[in-house]
Symmetry: C2
Subunit: 146 residues, 2 copies
C-alpha cells in the first residue's frame, strides 16, 4: 500500500522504518498521523478511536504494537500521568518537558531544561551520578484561566 496519509516527512519516516528492517504499514502511518495532528498527549483509547476513523479495521493490539515500534524509533514518546495512566505524543525535537494543563488536558512543551544545571550541582552535592530524569509539570494554561 502506498502513501495513504499525508504524514509529515513521509519519505524520511519510511526510511527510518526500512533502516531497521521494519515495514512502513498503513496502520503505523495512521498512528503516527493521529499523534502528529494532535495538540497534546493522547491516551491509547483515543488513539485507537482516531486511527479507526482513518483505517476502520485497525485492531487495538495493532495500536499497542505500533506505538511500541514508534517509541523504539524515537518517533513517539510516552508520558506517565498523575493517575498512573499513559499517554503518547510525537517525540519532540531535542530535550523538552511537557506541561499538562489539568483543565483542558492540552500539553505545552517547555524547551528549557532546568536539569542541565541541576545535574552537575547534584552530583557534586550527593555524589550520585545523574543519568536520567523525568520531569512533568501540571498547571492551568492561559485559556483555562478564565
Amino acid at each position: 500500500m502506498g502513501k495513504l496519509f499525508s504524514i509529515n516527512n513521509y519519505n524520511e519516516i519510511k526510511e527510518i522504518f526500512h533502516d531497521k528492517g521494519l515495514k512502513c504499514t498503513p496502520q503505523r502511518q495512521a498512528v503516527l498521523k493521529v499523534l502528529q495532528e494532535s495538540k497534546g498527549y493522547l491516551s491509547i483509547s483515543k488513539i485507537h478511536r482516531n486511527v479507526k476513523e482513518l483505517l476502520p479495521g485497525t485492531g487495538l493490539a495493532t495500536v499497542y504494537r505500533s506505538l511500541e515500534t514508534l517509541i523504539e524509533l524515537n518517533l513517539v514518546v510516552k508520558v506517565h500521568l498523575e493517575d498512573g495512566c499513559h499517554s503518547y505524543a510525537v517525540a519532540p525535537k531535542g530535550h523538552r518537558h511537557p506541561i499538562v494543563c489539568t483543565d483542558c488536558n492540552r500539553v505545552i512543551d517547555y524547551t528549557e531544561c532546568p536539569m542541565e544545571d541541576l545535574s552537575k550541582k547534584l552530583t557534586k552535592d550527593t555524589g550520585i551520578l545523574i543519568q536520567n530524569h523525568f520531569l512533568q509539570l501540571f498547571g492551568t494554561c492561559k485559556q483555562c484561566q478564565t
Copy 2:
C-alpha cells in the same frame, strides 16, 4: 489489638487515624512499618511479602487498601517508575524529590527543589500557572559507581 509493631511515633500515628475516624489496625501498622524500615521505594508485591512476614494472613487487597489510606493521610507517597509500575515509600517531611539508583534501587531524597525558582519563570514565560510538578531523578549512587 494493641501496639503490635514498634512503628515510629506510634501514638502520633494512631491519632492521625482516629482524627479521620479510621481504625489503627495491625495490617495498616504493618504496611507502614514495612515502608519505614525500607531504605527505598517498594513495589506492592514486595510490601505484601514483607507484611506477610509480620502478619501472615494479610491479603493483597488489604495491602492495596492500606496504602490508599496511608496516602490519603499523607503518611505514604506513591511514585511512578520508568516502566509505568508503581512503588511506595514513607512520605518525606516537607517537599523532596527522590533520586532512584538504577543499580541498587535505593532512593536518596533530594531536599532542594529547583521548581521553586522555575515555576515563577515559567509562568512569566508561558503564561501557564504551574500548580504541581512531578520530578524524579535516576542515577548511580556512590556505592554502585565501582
